[in-house]
Point group: D2
Chain length 364, copies 4
């Protein structure tokens, strides 16, 4: 995996900083003949867009995507069909004024990448976090919208399942609830809890972490590889590449460490339709790195943003000790907007392995 | 990342099955002038080797490594110096007899990769799990022994921190204890608990999961990249590629989801030696995908092996329903032997990023 | 090498078709701290731009490049400094009207990629050749402008050395002449010959091939690798990826097949400055895949464009036999505009190996 | 493309030096279910093997290949069937004694990679050329034997078409003659000319260059890609990676530079079987980087070996000026043994693109 590219046959390269002219991606390897519209891509971007509720940053980012290449516009004036050549997508930054960053341009905010960037590059784009800004994830979401189309029937959906110390009740899981609340929780009973909890966090100028679960259905069995291109490995890699993610699990994940072999093994039977079925899904749809046909289940943990109103001790580029308080409009729980990003990354990983499997074995 | 290769500048390709003639790896990209001995590599392999105690499988695998290329033997007759060309290492399988596998050759063991292999390849190497056997990890451990030498001063050590429901007490952590017990636990107080617990598991013909923690010290600040070559991302990817791993964490990992921004941010001060120091390490040594100079902390969860004596329901390749009991000599807790494997993978990821950072920025 | 990306540490991804909204590239892996201006990039694009003389196509393509990311604008308002993050560059297509392509949309022009595209993708972008249009090379030239800056002191220059049956006289080589004529020939004595010859070709509605020579000076010794990342191999690969190129040579190239070992070996002596010198350069600056410090010499052959006024026999997508005459504004000798493209590709290959060598060995 | 690996889905990693314990390769990405025998692989290795006639080096290298992994032995005890996992092949070096290299260990032989290796790595394997020895190509030939099987019906054959100043007569081309002479020439009328010519070269302790032509038949149309994964580009890259190769051509190659558009365009008609046919093959079977279904024609130029008996001026590692004469058993025309190597490389490139095309488009 290269530095700003991911994927082997379905390859996505993203570019752009928080305060540059634009950001975007090049999707290279999309098969020919895939139909989609800019409006479809936009619908996923809108889920990620800030300012949708008081629980996300109040910055205004229209995030309007344009498809610049790799497609032929159909006669309906709306439908785009991929030609097999690279699909370039761009989102212009409407508000790219460089405000006066003053001292902060030389200070290292605790928990941010300021210090490590400076050590690595010797030059730091202090404007809004530069390349490490979550703005970059808009490009991934656009790529994910294409990836969803590559695998026939694929459905990839995500949900917030934990915020700070509060978890949802999995037994009340209802996908229909996801879009009825500003948290992407599938548990209607958790909405008030999350709302009250996050109101407190927000008013205190603090922030909180979260856990997101992504489930992919209709993934054909056989995707992945036994060793260094395991499907779960690439899903883990893709999810861990999202800003602020500190942990990734497949299926039972860390809980599997507490299970016995009897508890953990997913027994098999023949289904009524003549296809094998699994009686449980501790494995999260992946066995030996290869999809089993059961739903793929991945979870990832997002840390709280370090942009908080409480001053923290740090240093600046000259080694001077300073106290830093990060003013500005920030998400009290960045995990919320990570839901559509996680979906996009899982979709991209599956699309890539779908094409690889087809190439390597001809068995799709 | 290719199917059986990992790394971008420090690239490792492994090959070999459980019951083949041999297994091995090619380490491509090791810088010239790195000194090591076969005995050093062997010392890491011996940690991973089965049959070291009653808690690991009783199979005999001498696992004797030979270095076949990429080095010049020095006049002492022992020291090898890398020439910059690919280092090929091989471990012969001393016991490669194909016993009579009978029915099992066509049955899908629950929790194993049998079914997914058959779906993917249409041909399955039923002999000891084929390529998905943990035998493959011996090659990784050999590669890791080279990787450790690439980064000056690098120290990578792992420990078992949880077995089933029992966790170690982190406050009693003592690296010196690691080699004093068959569990690689750094907490002397946990040895009896683990021993009694695993005796019970073993006698019941059952198995249990575990969590391993790997800590890398003396990692220069600046390794990694902001987006798709984050150091934590590659560590996650490498660890998730180990057999039976279902979850990976960096620093506080999933626990970070429960923290506030104030709790999670690692404050900075200037150390007495004029270098920055972090007052805590929630981030696990990586900020924005780039190493900070603090110790890198990674954890991974290993599921219990599915090779258990209790019969489980499954099907065979003809779709016939069968009950399967996996006889044979298996590890009751495969997590134990995963410790040196996890160390090797973390070392390889760091070595790769060390070379990439040097190439990309010239700043080491 | 991926489908629309080249390079390992200095990676270029290009996108865009002849008649799309725009085209561009993402340069990923440019080290931080490299200074350049949009005007510098533009100066190389202008060399490649059509309509510069009557000997190149009369299409109007302003080819105005914009740098969208990966840089910080300095206080002079002109200088850009790379930050180490991906540099995205875009050139808008000012004339993207889709004229009525009529029959040609379904006909396979002999010598063009029409038929092979249709076989491969089942969908063909008939507008101006789609992705196989030479328009794409503008993006490469922009990337090459950055590559030139990556290697300190690097000078990469190209010249047209043969057009059809007429070759230049190497003994009259004068770099200063290159920009004094519309053919990029370094031999002032060849200008009239080329002019008269090409006038005849052009008036006949015909076309002719050419050979271009690219010379790179101040390339540090040590770049490349012995086997599958030979510097000459990558230069050959990069040059062969240019539209219409059918052959590539390094140093004496095909002529070396006629030489004896005595004639071909470049003898070495110590120079007055204490550095080794080569008494000849049959090898073209590369020995065993690694640069020797002598100038790198590469040549490539460009076939005549198939867009000619004489009707040729062919078939259409229905298998019907047709006669095709390609009207429109085409280059009688596409090799002329290939000169800056060849320079750019050689510069990119050298920049990539410069970074790889630094990473792999730390010896720059 | 990595340093010692080539290919994207059909990936080959080679390892081993001239005087090491062994050399070999790992073929990663071979589809499952491909049948072959060790004897088949050996038959290609035997073509490349030295000592077959007085025209090749008199060194003895049994070059016996062993397949170590990635296959299941069938009941006939001979047939191997690929399982989809990496195929490791090894050839032991039977004569690996390190003779006394004396002064030569520090001298730079003109035309060899001695100097560039030393500059690059700071450590040089002076034993027989180390990694730059043509020994390495045995591993490629083994990989090529597998590649041939991946594409149904594929036939790849090579021939020597020029030696020094003597070319074959293409009108007398007869594949049946290839194995009837020690030069792999398809023109029976050229055998005596080549024999007399090379006898003179050999007796003078000199060496001479050559040109090899490789033709691949039954290549499906549609393999390759428009831009940076052109099939011709990868063939050029693979061929240029062979030791001593200085030029590569596809179809008419450099001759195309002298042609007009009318002469160069390959007209199309419908064949009697309802498939398109090309009335000529100037393009060498590749249009716009994509195979057309016509035979693929590639040529490459091999320089004369620099190991000659006439002393040449050079320097040593201390900068001292020396005269060097390379004693030993060398090939007077290394181009002869390059024939099976060229075939192998073309087969590998086609196999890789066959799998890529299948993955990317599903159209095979």
């Amino acid at each position: 995996m290269s530095h700003n590219t991911f994927g082997h046959l379905f390859r996505v390269t993203t570019w752009g900083e928080s305060h540059g002219i634009a950001l975007g991606c090049v999707v290279d390897g999309c098969p020919p003949g895939i139909s989609f519209t800019e409006a479809e891509i936009q619908s996923y971007l809108d889920k990620r867009k800030p300012g949708q509720s008081k629980y996300t940053t109040q910055r205004r980012e229209p995030d309007q995507v344009r498809v610049l290449s790799g497609v032929m516009l159909q006669e309906d004036g709306v439908t785009l069909v991929s030609t097999g050549t690279p699909i370039s997508m761009m989102i212009e930054n409407t508000d790219q004024r460089s405000k006066d960053y003053g001292d902060i341009a030389r200070q290292y905010r605790p928990g941010h990448a300021d210090y490590t960037y400076d050590v690595k590059y010797g030059i730091r784009d202090y404007r809004g976090g530069g390349r490490s800004s979550a703005r970059e994830t808009a490009a991934r979401v656009a790529a994910g919208a294409i990836a969803r189309k590559v695998v026939p029937g694929l459905v990839v959906r995500g949900a917030l399942v934990k915020m700070g110390v509060h978890s949802i009740d999995h037994s009340r899981w209802d996908w229909a609830e996801i879009d009825n609340n500003p948290f992407f929780t599938p548990d209607a009973g958790s909405v008030d809890t999350f709302a009250n909890y996050l109101d407190g966090i927000r008013k205190a100028g603090s922030s909180i972490g979260a856990v997101i679960e992504v489930i992919a259905e209709n993934v054909p069995a056989g995707l992945g590889a036994p060793i260094y291109a395991k499907l779960d490995q690439d899903i883990a890699s893709y999810l861990m590449s999202i800003n602020a993610v500190k942990g990734v699990e497949i299926g039972d994940g860390f809980h599997a460490a507490t299970l016995t072999g009897e508890e953990n093994a997913d027994e098999m039977r023949m289904g009524n339709d003549g296809n094998p079925i699994f009686l449980s899904n501790h494995a999260g749809g992946i066995l030996g790195g290869i999809s089993s046909g059961a739903p793929i289940v991945a979870r990832f943990a997002v840390k709280p943003t370090s942009s908080i109103l409480t001053p923290r001790q740090s240093i600046d580029a000259d080694g001077k000790q300073v106290d830093i308080m990060t003013k500005g409009r920030h998400d009290p729980c960045v995990g919320i907007r990570a839901v559509p990003i996680g979906e996009a990354m899982v979709a991209c990983a599956i699309a890539d392995h779908y094409l690889r499997h087809r190439g390597q074995t001809g068995r799709i």
